[in-house]
Amino acid sequence: MSVLEIRNVKKRYKNKVVLNNISLNIKGTYGLLGPNGAGKTTLMKIIATLLPLEEGTITFGDISWENDQRVKPLIGYLPQYFSAYKTMKVYEVLHHFAILKGITNKERRISELDAVLENVNLYEQRNEKIKYLSGGMIRRVGIAQALLGNPKIVIVDEPTAGLDIQERVRFRNLLRKISANRTIIISSHIVEDLETTCDYVAMMNKGTILLEGSRQEVLQIVDGLVWEKDVNSRDLEQIPESQIISVKEAGDRYIVRMLSQESIKEAKRVHPTLEDAYLYMMKGDNH
């Protein structure tokens, strides 16, 4: 499978640099992690050809982003906010997208629509109007339209925004399911979204890439640096806030997860997670 190569991409809005020399090698299921305002959506929009590429290059095999008409057929895009015409039925909406994406052969269109509906588990709801669907279902309609035309690259911006816990889990599974034989780029500020779905991760902040690699490579950054300690409330107050990753209540005590280069007394070293790596990088970048 080809790699989506991003080289030295820059983007300015007025005088503000939004993306600063971004270079990435995107392949497989790829997560873009960063806080709000990091430039993720801008980068996504440039990849999705919604914003012009002003500086730098993007290529996918022999296809360059300089000619966006060649790029568009490669892309399925689900933006952060997605809704559809509320009085239209699920099938009608997807049918419309299918035609716009150039699936003009009727038989092929019907079979692809059926497959996509099955894939996103909306076959039963195909004759429901959009206005009667839950937030999760609408999001699934969104991913269904992105999959139409079998695009090589699927871009999903903030996939679980506004979904409840059950829907989030279901949606992450769906992303996993559709990832075969295509590149999926997921941008999110929610680490769990990427933890369970992505093979590769990049972390962004303030328009620059802090880190890029496979999930294992990323975890290695904080390998041996993550500690857990069982403390009471008075001890909790003594721990410097800059060290704390998370605090969990356990009865009248607290289990504190911390980052530290050195060993911590009465704490045990634990396996790092993506969240640990993310927080580690963000703290490093912010200080």
Partner: protein, 695 residues
Amino acid sequence: MKVFNSMNVMWILFRRNPLFWILLVCFLTYVYYGFHFYSTGYNFSPGEALVRMSFAVQGGMLAFLFFGVLLIRLEENNHLHDIFSSIPKGNFSKFIGKLLFFFILVLLICLFVFSIYVFLFLPKGISFLPFYYDAFLYIVLYWGISFFLSMLIGALLASWFKGKIIYPLILFVWALIGPANSYFFGTAASKPVFSDFLAWINLGEPNPYALFNDLYGFELSLYHWMKRLFMLLCISFLFLFTHFLRKRGNIEKRFYMYVAVCIGSIGALIYYFTLDRQIYISNSLLAGTRERVDETYYRALSHENSVPHQVIAITKYDVHMKIKRLVEIDTAITIVNNQKQPLDNISLSLYHGFKVIDVSSSHKKLSFQQKNDLLNIQLPSELPPKQSCQLSISYKGLSSPLFFANSRAVYLPYYFPWLPSSNVEPAFQYTKIGLIRNNHQWGNDAEITLTYDGPTPLYTNIKKVGSKKWHGRSSFGLSVVVGKIAEMNRKNDGTQFVQPMTWEKNMYQYPEFKERTSHIMETISRNFHIPYEGFPKLVVFVPILSINDFAVEEYIWFASDHLIYGTSLQYQATILPQDEANYTYMLVPALTWKYKGIPIKDMEYLHLFDSVYAYVYNQQHGIPDDGSFLPRMNPIKSEKDQIKSSIVQWIKKEGNVEMKNRFCQEWFQLIESGSQDWNELKKLVEQYIVIKEDL
């Protein structure tokens, strides 16, 4: 397929919205009631039904401006815009699909409106297909295209402005581009520059406050189509420009081709608009209304235009007339010197809107001077008495707004100097009672050949002898009438009765009209010794008045070979006036002093004669006449008023009709002798009222 599917999506969205159906039903009911009002009873007027329905257009334009906003914001509201942008030609297909949807919606609305129109008027006796064809074009031009352009403007504004500022903007634009714009801008609309702008920017009926002119028909001049094409191109250009700014350089080559085509066409149309042309503007709120143009001109015109007295006759006219954007006439005339002295220059009347380009005789160019309505030509050599010479005169320009001549309609009657006339006086004169038309009938027999290239069918007082060619003789002049008129009585009595297609319903009155006219002709002929050549072969009954509608002298123009019977602009014109007595008042001046070609020196004097004799005639023939058409006499300020008052009082007294008739006969002899003098009239009055009355 992408475009059609996008269009279909719009249809699904609209048809599933109950508001769409509510609005559609309300609109059609509203249109039905509007048309129904003008298709029944006293208000019957097929033309007015469309013109007066400008209010529906104004309302519809607002709806379509909002539809334009919807066109842009529909995807934005549903967060779909980005997705369509990521699909190859996604947004373009959506945009064109939505435009197509609105285009078809507009077309369907036009068809619905037209169907209602036909449904209501066809059974009411309006059967001329060309009229319905025009009605359809009118609906397309002033309803359909206006709606569509409004939608595009709304879309353009919505693509520029986000948020709620769009509402006041839309309302402002609506007030600016609708047919009622001159109302919205109140007194400012009468300021000339702004007035012209408002007339130009108006996308609806150009004359929403004026009564429909059944002769001219709907104002469907090419200019109005071009104006809309221009707006369409400007809007397209602005869309392309907006696209260019948003894409920032990532533009296909085709784009530049579209821009070039747009700019080229816009440039060509700007040039087109700078050219002179005659369009029908009748809007009292605007400065350039047709009723005021000549009034302003002739009011300011000096009356000191002393013309040397000359007695010449034009005995032959060979006229080549072309009416397109301008009226272009090449005419060869034969002039005879009927005075005792030789002539080295001649003066002719020609309406000042026609600019003389060239005057020649035997291929030799002659010097000439054109000032106002007077054309002075230096002859190549002195023209001895009783000798003739031939002159070629070429001119082109615009006719008077009151005697229009353009690609839609032509009203160039014999009494208007559209052909060089030896009857030297201005086309109009401004009097106490306003602007009146001077009579330019020729006064001698002339042979006429007319080659005509312009709108058809043409009705004239000479015979058609070939394709685009007419030939004949007349001692009054040549009248050319084209418009939404038709010959109504082909199987009748040899007289061509021509009137607007929209007045077809009144034909049952024709026999009575003819009988009554013939009777008055016979009586006047006997009474005043005026020989007529029988009932005219051509009667043209048309709305020719828009100024001085109260002056009965303006209504009927009687030439030996044809009669022009005019009315004011009105609903449901009847051939016979509802007040029977009134018809006599209109006919008397036409059959007496106007027929004899007596020039107007004192309109008040002549008007008194007209009304007094008409009253006497009505008394003689038992036609009920309460004297309300006679001049009103209070307060009496001058001796003239005193004379008028004594005549009116005497004439209104019962009895002595024969004596009153004799008085009129003697009075007419005075007029025929060239007198329009109040002192002489006073003497005559004194003889009758004081002396003969006592006998």
